[in-house]
Symmetry: C2
Subunit: 331 residues, 2 copies
């Protein structure tokens, strides 16, 4: 690993000139520049990002914390963040908190000092802890609202309203909501949107849970749903919905004909399921890209404090919903 001095010596110029060649090439005389580049090439020199970071006070790295890489909602988001970060010449740290608030804190703490900015996707950690922790590190949150912190949120209102309209139109009179983690902002948001839409369309709403956002939770929920006897279910996310689908089939209940199921997220699994899952599409990739854009603004000192980008959702109708076995009386 050659250093800048080696290159300078070999090219017969000072270290400053070498540095300039890599930062503002136009400023350096043609022949000097060529000599430097030649020397750098034969020596295999590349500026050390570490030394550069120390000097500049910026690392050129971005940190991203997600609650669970294995949740198919996040990979597209991660990919989008990575792509957008590279576009801005930044590398990306990804960390997985395993849905655990304590781990999340530790990860954020570990990352904070080595990145220029932090993107927190669906953070589970308590607000006070989080504020204390990210003070001094530019932060953008995804799918959570924190006064004064730039955020990208997806709004379930449109999708949930469409879901309720869809179910009402099919003749359902009540809906069971399978709740997600209590600490998850998304859960409160989705429940609220569902409540509003149900009130508006005169449907009854009941709730089961909370459930961890996993396939297994949905399996467990299946028996509860059957016991309660609902005809339409909206799950916190696709994974729970898919677990539910599997369990219902296992118990001999026909999805759609007997019980309609709607998920949220529209991960690629929704299309894959059988029957294909009707679900509320949440634009994960767009959210990730928007978060990076917001971060870039923050880092360039733009007046973005408290800004919140909102991304709409929409219902994707597939085959897991149908008219109930015996239509409810109109309310």
């Amino acid at each position: 690993m050659a250093t800048i001095s080696d290159v300078a010596a070999r090219a017969g110029v000072s270290r400053s000139t070498v540095s300039r060649v890599f930062l503002q090439p136009q400023v350096v005389a043609e022949d000097a520049r060529r000599r430097v580049l030649a020397a750098a090439d034969t020596l295999g020199y590349e500026p050390s990002p570490v030394a550069r970071s120390l000097r500049r006070g910026r690392t050129g790295n971005l940190g991203l914390v997600v609650p669970d890489i294995a949740n198919p909602f996040f990979p597209p988001l991660i990919k989008a963040v990575q792509r957008q970060a590279r576009r801005h010449q930044m590398a990306l740290f990804v960390a997985d908190s395993d849905e655990h608030a304590d781990d999340e804190l530790a990860l954020v703490r570990a990352m904070a000092k080595q990145v220029d900015g932090l993107i927190l996707a669906s953070p589970r950690v308590a607000e006070a802890d989080l504020r204390a922790l990210i003070e001094g590190t530019p932060t953008v949150v995804i799918n959570r609202r924190l006064e004064g912190i730039p955020a990208v949120v997806t709004t379930p209102e449109q999708g949930m309203t469409q879901a309720v309209e869809h179910l009402a139109a099919l003749g359902h009179g009540e809906i069971v909501y399978l709740a997600g983690p209590e600490q998850a902002y998304s859960n409160q948001q989705r429940r609220q949107a569902l409540e509003n839409a149900c009130r508006l369309h005169g449907l009854r709403l009941s709730e089961l849970g909370p459930f961890e956002p996993h396939f297994e939770s949905g399996v467990r929920a299946g028996d509860l749903v059957l016991a309660q006897g609902g005809s339409a279910v909206v799950a916190y996310n696709d994974q729970i919905a898919l677990g539910l689908l599997a369990r219902l089939s296992e118990r001999g209940t026909r999805v759609a004909q007997d019980v309609s199921v709607i998920g949220v997220d529209d991960t690629w699994l929704a299309r894959m399921a059988s029957p294909a899952l009707t679900t509320v599409r949440v634009p994960a990739g767009a959210a990730g890209a928007a978060a990076v854009r917001l971060m870039v603004d923050v880092l360039s000192g733009g007046p973005v404090a408290g800004a919140a980008v909102e991304l709409a959702t929409e219902l994707i109708v597939r085959s897991s919903t149908a008219a109930p076995p015996r239509p409810a009386a109109t309310a």
Copy 2:
């Protein structure tokens, strides 16, 4: 962001002493240590990883490149690497190459200078490019064999042999292999293991593909399988197998009764599918953890050049395999 000098001044000691308090606390006198810690606490001081890296010549970071985060095989591997890395006080960079050799190269190049070591999971890039690139950066590869480079490989032999025995015992006389990407070492490895096992048990083997390791590929493969009329299929991985399952059902073919399907990886999707997928379990988490251990050895200068950790596989029988509609005549 307070610096070490601030803390030193406030605690009335030299910078070296402050440094020692954070590196070898036992060496510092009780009261000095307490004063330093108090000062650091009130000033909110934490050693700068960047400056530390520059001075030490090590970053304390590990890089991990995977071909596709969205492939459910990788999240458990990533989680295991992250966990193991943290255990060794190292942070983790994760990058996704989107199954694309060029991106892989660019990512490795970008990471190489900011990490102490690189873990390459199922690298797609050509051997020559790869060797040139990682020269100078300690590297461990997962699921690929490169002479002289430490590696962790999963061996499909056991699982594939069990799969063939299983199918033969059920009465199948031939097997169709749905191939994965040609550049993938795993594909060659799996095909070879399958060939050997088939020869041993006197089954005929044919091949379709190559297919990208995605659900959609499996859907496409479905029609090809039906056209060819095979009674047993082994897919390169679970995702392809699941796409196949979906397509077969769609076409009215009953999985297991009409066509037996076996996947490879045993991702969580395999259990989720309906019918649940018989598959060859590949220990992804164990592979990730082993890779970090190997890396730690390499970094501490151990004599591990060319070492290769081998991890066995095993067949997990579920419900996607059964006797063929009309048993083949014994060969």
